[in-house]
Amino acid sequence: MDKLKKHKKFIIMTMVLASVFSSILLFYEPIYYLGKAGFDKSIAPRLLYWGSQGEDVKNVQWQLVKWKYLIGDVDGIFGPDTYRAVRRFQQKNGLKVDGVVGPDTAAALGISLSEATPASAQGVNRQGDEYLLARAIHGEARGEPYIGKVAVGAVILNRVRNPNFPNTIAGVIYQPLAFTAVADGQINLTPGKDSIKAARDALNGWDPTYGSLYYWNPATATSKWIWSRKVTLKIGKHWFGL
C-alpha cells in the first residue's frame, strides 16, 4: 500500500515536470514566429491592405469572386468586404490570417503584384513610409482614440524634422531606447485599419500636438527624465511634450 502510494507520487511528479518542460518549449515558439513573420512582411516588395486601390486590387477581387470568397463588385477598392474575403481565403488555405495581400497570399491567389508606379519613377512612392509609420502607431497606441494615433504619428514626423533626432522615419522609429514597442517587437504586428488611416493623416500634415516631440504614458513611463520635459497637452492616456 505504501509502496503503491510512493509509486503514484513518482508518476505524478514525472507528469508535472514533463508538462512544465513541454510548456516552456511551447511558450518559446510563438514569440520566435511573431518576430519572423513581422520581419518577412517588412521586406515585402508591395502589399495590398485596407484602403489600397487600383488594378492589383481588382485582380485580387476578381479571383476572390471567381472562387466565391467574395460576393460583391470588383471595384478596385480594398474595403471591408474584400478584407473579410481575403481573411476567409487565408484561413481556408493555411496562410497567416491578417487580411493583407502580400507575396504569399498573392501567390496562393495565382496573381503577381505589379509595381504601383510607371517605369519612369520606379519604386518612388510613399507606401513604405506609410506602412512603417502605421506599424509604429499600432505598436505604440493601438488602444488610443483615433486622434491619439494621429498624434503619435505626428510626433515621429516632428522628430524627423528636428535636428536633435535622426533625419528619416525609419531612423527615428528604430532609434535604440526610443520606443518600447520597437524594443519588445510589437512594432511587427500587422497594423489595424485605424492605424493605417492615422499614419496617412499624419503624413498628410495633421498634427494634433502642434509640434510636440515627446509623449509618455504616466502609468507606465519608467524614465524620470521624461518628466523634465515641457508638458503641452494630454490626448487619451498620453501626455505630449516639447
Binding site: G54, S120, N125, V150, N162, N164, Y210, T222, T232
Partner: protein, 455 residues
Amino acid sequence: MDRKRWWIAPSILGLALILSLAWAYSEYQTRQELGVALENHYQRLFFDVKKHVENVQVNLSKAMLSNSREQNVLLLSQIMNEAYFAQDKLAQMPITHANTANTEKFLNQAADYSYNLIQTHLDGQPLTNEQRASLANLKQNSAKFNEELANLQSELANQDFTIRSLVKEQTEEVEEGNKNIFQATLTSIEDNMAKTPELIYDGPFADQMIDREPLGLDDKDVSVEEAKKIAREFFGNDRVEKVTSFEDGENVTEVVIPSYTFSLKQNDTSRELSAYIGVSRKGGHVIWMNNPRPINEQEISIEEAQNRALSYLSEKGFDNMEPNYYQKYDGGVLINFVNKVENVTIYPDLIKVKVALDNGEIVGFDAAQYYLNNHERDIQQPQLSVDEAREKIRTDFEINSTRLAMIPKGKDEVLCYEFKGDYRGEDFIVYINALNGKEEDVLQLIHNENGTLTF
C-alpha cells in the same frame, strides 16, 4: 512487479533533464552569437563615429584657411557628408536620447550650415567674418568632441566593456547615469555641446526655423468658452451635441501655434465617433479639424469634391484659394489649396481639405501652414520676362504651363516663374527666380491612380 518498474520514473526524468540541458545549451550558444554580432555592430558604429568626427574637424580647419571658393565648396561638401554620417551612426547606438540630443543637433547643424555655405559660395559671395567665426566655433566643438571620443576609444581598448551592456543599464538606471566611463564621457560631450552658440543661417535645422512664430494670427486673446463657440460654429451648430476640451499641460502656450483642442460629440446617434478640432488661442482661428468617420462607397467624382471643398473654403472666409494637387485615400480625397494674390500663386499659404467621396461631406481641414505663413506681402514686379526666364531652362524640356509663384526658401519667400512640363517622359516643375533668373528649385511629379506626389 513494483520492483521491476521503479526505475521508469527516474529515467524519464533523467531523459527530460538531458534534453532540457541540450536545449538550454543550444539556446545559450545562439544567444552568445547574437550578442557578439550585436556588439560587433555597435563597435563598428562607434569607430565610424570617431572617424567621421575626425574628418569634420580636419576639413573645418582646412576650410578656414583655404582662400579659394572652389576648394571651399569641395571641403564644405565633405564636412556636410561626414557630419551627417556621424549623426546617423551616433543615433543608431544604444544611448538614451537625453545623452545624445545636443550632440546630434550639433552634427545636424554643422552639416546643414555647410550646405548653406556651399550655396553662398555658388552664388559668388565670399565668406563673411561672422561665417568664419561660426566655422571656428564649429571646429572648436568638433575638436573637443573628437578628443573625448579618442579618450573613450583608448579606455574601451583597455577594459572589458561591451557597448551593448548599455541597453540594459540605461533602461534600468537612467536617472543615476554616469555609471561608467562611457556614460560619463557622453554626458560631458553632451554638456559641452549644449553650450554651442546659436548658428545664424537659413536652413531647415537652424534654430530660427524651429522657433519661428506664426505670421497669420491676430493678437486678440481668445478664452476657452469663446473657442468652444468658434469650434461649434465651424463644425455646424446643429450637428454638435457636446464639446469637450483636452487636458492642457502647463507649457501648452510654448508650441508653434498655441491652441485649444476639443473633441466634438456629434448629434447623430448612429455615429459613435467623435470629431476633433483645434482653435488658436490668438485670434480664435480653426487650425485643423478631423472627422475620422468611416466612408462608404464612392458616390461623387473628384471634380464634384473639389467644388464642394471650394465652396466650403469661401464659406469659411478663404477666397482666392486655388486647388492644386489631390491624393485619394481611405475613401476620401485630400485636396491642397493655395492662396492666389494678383495672379501669383502663393505656395506657403497652404490649406488642405479632405472630402468624403460618399456624400461630399468635408471630413478634414488643416490650415496650420496657412496661419504659419500668411501675411501682407509686398509682391515685387518680375525683373525678367517669361521668355528670358525660359531661356534659363534646357531647350528640350517640353513646357505645358507657365505661371508666377511665390515659393518658400528657408524662412523667406522668393518670386519665381513656374514651368511645368515633361522631360524624357517624366513630369517636372522648374522654378526660375523672377528677379535674378536663378534656378531655385526642381520638383519631380509622381503620378499614380490615387493622385500626384511631389518629390
